[in-house]
């Protein structure tokens, strides 16, 4: 869903980053305890199909996933990044198909699956990954060893205050572990993996620890969720979150056609109608139905259809209440849940009031791209252009975090990229992130971390433009002229000096290629 006006609570932290899990995996022998799963388990809610089948075999399809990771280096984008690793949990959901969290396998260069009773490590690979809902599907390179195992099956949304168990490979030992608790809350939550997506999530008080990520949470032997996040530190106790079945099923359905299309979004912000003057001005009759549309993203699904000041009355025939909630599957939920369940290209029927006149329309849902930049991105090789020691990189969250940018223009652009619709003018803002010092550029080193406005008279709307604009000859052909946002003067390089210095700078600073524009772009 679109989060423009729904700020996240700051207490949200990614609890199970893969590297943290690994750090815990290397516990000292003193902390070793008897594997929890080896203890006799008597569970009223986990059905054992036959008394002769030990529980542990029933759970043989719940596997440990070991990931070797390369964390991209956004400061030296031409470098490989730092090798790291981590481990999480996954479980068999079909023939050689394992479900886990996207964050368990993000940036992985090598994946290995282990079951609790089989000493053999099985190399695996990613089939589908959905960062926006933190889910992924893996397959073993050789599926044979898993053919005899029984895939887990899915249940529904568990009721509040009913018991669930979390099964997986968290810190504290190597073998499979079980913890138990109840369903505490069902609510829309921000997903910390990307930090910009929010979906339905279920809060449980079963202990969920680093390494549980991607593991199943079971009720009556059926999967009711995938453990994925909690709070780090001591901000809250016994709070763990699991991805519920509707989100999982949506993901599974999305990938049926062979690729993942991402969530779709209305890309409109609503403002509750609680004020009597508002009601009168918007021509409402006081039956509690209708929410004001305060903002519409021109690039979103309802761009050009809904307008500021419209009152949204219903979605697919379901009335939208004054506070933006909708009754859906018997529960009051955020109206975005209706959109959440749909896929790219699906239709949505809307009724709305405009200037007191009731209107009806059908919109085709699509993804809203600009906000992806505001979230954490994975499995991406950092893109860049180097010219005469000047390093240009596209603005996104990874870059902003890596460089800890403090330039006011850059921060404003990032903070208001959506709210002030800056993405319309600059779909991909480009920053001059660093200057590899050399005689040719020594006077412009203080201008690192500035936003690039124009090069040789060409407006820079994306990184690709940098490459073409640098080659172009501007008004004064002997010079390369770079205009920055909110900097008093243009940066100027003499073209012949810059081009002579360029190869030497590349060699000195060990930059193997002078640009990487992305997989589909020829350098």
């Amino acid at each position: 869903m679109f989060c423009g006006n729904r700020p996240f609570l700051m207490k949200m932290r990614p609890l199970f980053p893969a590297f943290a899990a690994l750090a815990f995996a290397a516990t000292s022998p003193a902390q070793e305890k008897a594997p929890a799963a080896a203890a006799p388990v008597e569970s009223p809610i986990v059905e054992t199909p036959a008394p002769s089948t030990p529980l542990i075999d029933e759970w043989e399809g719940i596997v440990n996933i070991d990931a070797s990771v390369l964390v991209p280096d956004y400061r030296e984008p031409w470098n490989s990044g730092a090798p790291s690793g981590g481990s999480g949990t996954g479980f068999l959901i079909g023939k050689n198909r394992f479900l886990t969290n996207a964050h368990v396998i993000s940036n992985a260069t090598k994946l290995v699956i282990r079951t609790t009773n089989d000493p053999e490590p099985h190399p695996a690979r990613v089939v589908f990954v959905a960062h926006d809902c933190d889910l992924a599907i893996l397959e073993a390179e050789d599926g044979k060893p898993f053919e005899k195992l029984k895939p887990l099956t899915f249940g529904g949304i568990p009721k509040l205050n009913t018991e669930v168990i979390a099964v997986g490979y968290p810190i504290g030992g190597d073998r499979i572990s079980v913890t138990r608790g109840v369903v505490s809350r069902i609510d829309f939550r921000p997903f910390s993996h990307t930090q910009v997506d929010s979906h339905l999530a279920i809060q449980v008080d079963a202990a969920i620890n680093p390494g549980n990520s991607g593991g199943p949470v079971l009720q009556s032997g059926q999967v009711v969720g995938v453990a994925f996040q909690g709070f780090s530190g001591r901000v809250a106790q016994n709070v763990g979150y699991i991805i519920p079945v509707p989100v999982i099923k949506r993901f599974l359905k999305d990938v049926e056609d062979g690729h993942y299309d991402h969530y779709v979004d209305l890309a409109a912000s609503d403002f509750a109608i609680e004020n009597s003057a508002q009601r009168k001005a918007l021509h409402l009759n006081g039956d509690g139905v209708g929410v004001m549309i305060a903002e519409v993203e021109p690039a979103g699904s309802v761009g050009g259809i809904l307008q500021r000041g419209d009152v949204l009355l219903s979605m697919d025939g379901n009335p939208v209440l004054n506070n933006g909630l909708i009754r859906f599957e018997g529960e009051l939920m955020d109206m975005n849940e209706v959109v959440e369940r749909k896929f790219a290209g699906d239709k949505l029927n809307l009724t709305y009031l405009r200037n007191g006149e009731k209107k009806e329309t059908e919109v085709t849902l699509k993804r809203f791209d600009p906000y992806v930049k505001l979230g954490e991105q994975y499995n991406q090789r950092p893109r860049y252009v180097v010219y005469a020691g000047l390093v240009f990189q596209p603005m996104d969250k990874n870059l902003m975090d890596a460089h800890q940018i403090s330039d006011p223009a850059a921060n404003y652009l990032f903070d208001n990229y959506l709210t002030e619709k800056l993405y319309v003018e600059r779909p991909e803002p480009v920053l001059l992130t660093s200057i590899l010092a050399d005689e040719v550029n020594t006077y412009i080193t203080p201008y690192a971390n500035s936003v690039v406005d124009e090069i040789n008279g060409v407006k820079i709307r994306s990184l690709k433009d940098v490459k073409t604009a640098l080659a172009k000859k501007g008004e004064k052909a002997d010079f390369v002229v770079i205009k920055l946002l909110e900097k008093g003067r243009p940066l100027v390089l003499k073209r012949d000096l810059a081009e002579a210095a360029h190869p030497k700078i590349m060699q000195t600073y060990n930059v193997p290629e002078d640009s990487y524009l992305g997989e589909n772009e020829k350098d």
Binding site: G4, N275, A277, K280, A281, T419, Y443, F479
Partner: protein, 517 residues
């Protein structure tokens, strides 16, 4: 609300540039216990001076975020320098938001009320006069005025004067090591300063400290960085300028050109600009609309080569006969007066041009965002519980380091790049600063920080427009259009009237629904 102490502000401002913030006031109100080895005592023992007075100020600042309220009152104690005609010179900070000012004779403790004759918060100077005609003559009988001495040069030794508990003079010698241009206390105000090295001890009356050369006034202490033992002095040339300006009975203030410039040390940049290797000058990167330079015809992109015959080097300095290399801005800010002729030589497209004009001053009220605000309360309009204010620097500064994100970051950006808003015809930025809980504002409790674009169909360019527009509701509704989410708010005009009556003298202790003067 953030506590605000001027006593601390002096130090905080001084140390900000040196990344050091003292946790405790360095000027305690009680004298320090005598040190075991009193090394700071001057050798000449106890002196008395007849040119120094104690100045006691009670002040009360307005609350920037709750504009109908004032903060709690506080006190400042400092020294004043007696000048010709029973006038007393102190720093501007000393009298900011003053509610009561009195002069005190150091020895006898005799007191007399005083008033502000002139104050310039940019130059941080104020001139006081006694406010008791009957007692004035007797009070000043034993005092002798001090003269201002502008002859200080780098390397001279000056003496900082302080008084002890019973009026004895404590002197601290300091050597002037640098003369340069530096920011003073309020936003957008920079003038020359002397920088001097030495140890200043804390005394009870340490707010305005005179710095003498012989028996004449050479400077006032602007700030002191105790970690580096570095004193920044407000120098005599600026004091003299201020006094000359006051003398004619009408205070005009310090003129400015209204330009920003960039250095031109970069060879490739110089070549791009068409400058010859031996040609000096700086690149004009911005020209303020309506300011002196623009009126004289200076354009962005010009190379400024000289002002009033002073050639400008690539760093923006000229050769001052007294101080050596000094920022060219001193020739305008510190040496010229409002109304003076100015002549500038610029290089434009390879051609040298001579531009002439008259110097003017940019008044604080000319700024889109008021750079400082003392002695007056912030403007506001409260209607039905929606509180609107004009954006000011002091408002933004009241958030301190909270200014990192969200609406405050956005407002701060507007303040930092006013051109965009000025282009849209705005004279001031009117924004919704808070929503008080009333029946009219039901549902709007979480809204704040948005810039107002229109009210009841009237474009808002300053807060007076807003007050007018609220007099004309349409069909019993007020329609407030905002530049950010949620973009539009509606108020019921009848409920607003009722809420306004209840707000007056209600729980929020609101005495007036607006301040527009």
């Amino acid at each position: 609300m953030k506590p605000f102490s001027f006593l601390l502000a002096l130090l905080a401002l001084g140390t900000a540039a040196h990344a050091q913030v003292p946790a405790t006031p360095k000027f305690p109100l009680r004298p320090n216990p005598a040190p075991l080895a009193p090394q700071a005592r001057p050798q000449q023992g106890v002196l008395q001076t007849s040119s120094l007075l104690k100045v006691n100020v009670t002040y009360q600042a307005h609350n920037m975020r709750i504009p109908w309220q004032k903060e709690s009152a506080g006190g400042r104690r400092g020294l004043g320098v007696v000048l010709e005609g029973n006038r007393i010179l102190v720093t501007g900070q000393m009298v900011a938001d003053a509610t009561y000012i009195e002069l005190e004779l150091p020895e006898s403790g005799q007191k007399i009320p005083a008033r502000v004759v002139a104050v310039d918060y940019e130059a941080n100077l104020a001139l006081l006069a006694p406010n008791s005609p009957a007692r004035e003559a007797a009070f000043f009988a034993g005092l002798s005025p001090m003269e201002v001495d502008t002859s200080t040069r780098i390397g001279d030794t000056l003496v900082v004067w302080q008084t002890g508990r019973v009026g004895e003079l404590i002197v601290t010698p300091m050597r002037v090591s640098k003369v340069m241009n530096q920011g003073y206390v309020v936003e957008n105000a920079s003038f020359i300063v002397y920088e001097a090295q030495g140890i200043i001890r804390s005394e009870a009356n340490s707010f305005t400290l005179p710095v003498a050369k012989g028996n004449k006034l050479a400077a006032l202490l602007l700030r002191y960085d105790s970690k580096n033992q570095l004193a920044t002095l407000l120098p005599a040339p600026i004091i003299e300028h201020f006094l000359k300006d006051v003398a004619d009975g009408k205070y005009d203030g310090f003129p400015s050109l209204g330009i920003e410039f960039q250095i031109t040390l970069d060879d490739q940049f110089r070549e791009y600009l068409g400058m010859k290797p031996d040609q000096a000058g700086v690149y004009i990167s911005s020209v303020t609309k309506g300011a002196s330079a623009e009126k004289a015809g200076v354009k962005k992109g010009d190379i400024l080569q000289s002002i009033n015959g002073h050639s400008i080097d690539s760093r923006g300095d000229y050769q001052d006969p007294q101080f050596g290399a000094l920022s060219i801005s001193h020739t305008v800010r510190g040496q010229a007066f409002v109304g003076d002729e100015v002549e500038m030589k610029v290089l434009r497209e390879g051609k040298e041009l001579t531009l002439k004009g008259k110097l003017a001053r940019k008044q604080p009220t000319d700024y889109l965002v008021l750079p400082y605000l003392f002695d007056h309360g912030p403007k506001y309009v409260l209607n039905g519980g929606l509180l609107f204010q004009e954006l000011t620097r002091p408002y933004l500064n009241s958030f301190g380091s909270e200014q990192q994100g969200g609406p405050i970051l956005r407002l701060a950006r507007i303040a930092n790049s006013p051109e965009e808003s000025e282009k849209k015809g705005k004279k001031k930025i009117v924004f919704l600063s808070a929503v008080l809980p009333t029946t009219s504002t039901q549902g709007y409790e979480r809204v704040s920080g948005q810039v107002v674009s229109e009210v009841n169909g009237t474009k808002i360019t300053r807060i007076e427009d807003l007050a007018e527009a609220f007099k004309k509701p349409q069909d019993g509704l007020h329609v407030v259009k905002l530049e950010q989410f949620p973009f539009i708010l509606y108020l019921d005009a009848t409920k607003v009237e009722r809420d306004n009556l209840q707000l007056m003298n209600g729980a929020f202790r609101i005495g007036s629904l607006s301040r527009l003067d």
